[in-house]
Symmetry: C2
């Protein structure tokens, strides 16, 4: 496995692979790799011939007061995970590589970024879409892999790629969960034992939602209210930022569950802000 | 010469050329091709092995009340010009190809787009940068060719390409002028004889600026005032939108001419809004 620290060097590795006709896969990450990332990497290794994992804690997607400084950076452990998973190149640029001069250019997606996490993180998604555009231009992958856990991000990236005719495929991999159901996240490691236990109520609330819909409940208000009751049982959940039932394509709130909907939750629990979601296609059930 | 009407088809032509190791050049245009465009195409033919000219009147870069409907579309004549100039593929997509669904994604460049033409055309540059990003993603050129006549556009596109790590080179070709000095533009054809004659005062004012600087005048105010006097001699110039002396990199107004400066003019004359500029590097003179 190669470690590329510069844009020039990762481009050379990819160019050599492409000249051999290899299909290039990219899993963009901020490091602190866990089994969720490993599932993306495994999907990439399965589907592509040459896999690049980028590790870059992107300042542009953190807002003021967010955890940019504290974000975990266990670089050696990350490399070991990549090596075991069969990655070909880890691209780990410093900020001086990624933002050489003052960045004046932003890629932004309207509407889809306004609700859900966009409400409390107004500059987050343009940071994500801009850095992903940069990574796509640098690595030129045939396929890029993202996780369903960040559902809004997944939809935003797919829309960006389609709107801008980016010459690649975006693959969204299923959310990976711990045995208690908690969606795996780098931010779970900020939690103590009690908080971690309480965090399982997030997925419990989503399972309850799924059950209610199976039982024929269709009013979003009623579903959200039942989910809120479950989340309130967890005393470390300090704030429910949102529980939303939205159209899975437009991300607009729906009054009634019909067709494909995304049910998404964000809570503050101890030092972490955690998100989770389920995608339901009621027309298929 | 091939004419590609769809994204799929232009990609196939380019892919075939690239597989033969050819260097791909792109000249993005809105059609109504004139000797200015021809100079871009000739530069592309000289520097590249396979030249694509795109012809697309991009609605996203016209503001309300601008000339999107009236913009000339002499398609057959454009094809003939391309054929003679040695173009390999004309990419002429319809709007349904370029904007399949509602476009939610914008590429925008801050600061550089705020002054000069950006003041009266607040959504123009994001329309240009977005469609150029799309064209770059569709055609994947090694080099793209733009004209110095649209000086602000040239600087914005170069900055966008650098900020987003686009894997291509941007080449800016010199402004082509009619015998009287008027910069060639598709919008010149809206002018009657008197207006066309009066329009030559735009370049006269820029030449006067150059002379003043050579004579040692450095105060922008003094230069602008002399240029204004010249433009006022042309009775069909209904409005001087701006005469600006700006830093050639940041596009910020400068009080004093020092180093590389751009002197740019925009006027309304009859039915047309015309722009022109000169780039001066006083440190080199």
């Amino acid at each position: 496995m190669e470690v590329a620290r510069t844009i020039k060097s990762v481009r050379e590795f990819v160019k050599a692979a492409r000249s051999k006709g290899k299909k290039i896969g990219l899993a963009p990450t901020m490091g602190a790799l866990h089994i969720g990332h490993i599932s993306l990497i495994e999907a990439a290794v399965k589907e592509c011939d040459f896999v690049v994992v980028s590790i870059f804690v992107n300042p542009a997607q953190f807002g003021p007061g967010e955890d940019f400084q504290e974000y975990p950076r266990p670089f050696e452990a990350d490399l070991e995970i990549c090596r075991k998973a069969g990655v070909d190149v880890v691209f780990a640029p410093g900020p001086e590589q990624m933002y050489r001069t003052e960045n004046l250019t932003w890629v932004s997606v309207e509407k889809l970024t306004e609700g859900l996490c966009g409400r409390s993180r107004p500059t987050h998604f343009r940071g994500v879409t801009t850095v992903c555009t940069k990574l796509f231009n640098i690595v030129a992958p045939d396929t890029a892999f993202f996780g369903q856990k960040d559902a809004q991000q997944a939809i935003v990236i797919k829309r960006m790629a389609a709107d801008l005719n980016m010459p690649l495929e975006i693959v969204i991999c299923p959310t990976v969960r711990e045995p208690g159901g908690l969606a795996v996240s780098s931010r779970n490691q900020y939690l103590n034992e009690k908080e971690k236990k309480d965090a399982t109520f997030i997925y419990k609330s989503l399972q309850q939602c799924q059950q209610l819909i199976r039982d024929g409940v269709t009013q979003s208000d009623a579903i959200i209210s039942e989910m809120r009751k479950i989340l309130r049982q967890a005393s470390s959940i300090e704030e429910i930022e949102y529980i939303s039932v939205v159209d899975a394509e437009t991300l607009q709130d729906v009054e009634k569950v019909e067709g494909a909907v995304l049910v998404a939750v964000a809570v503050k629990i101890g030092p972490s802000r955690l998100i989770d979601n389920i995608l339901l296609d009621t027309s298929k059930e």
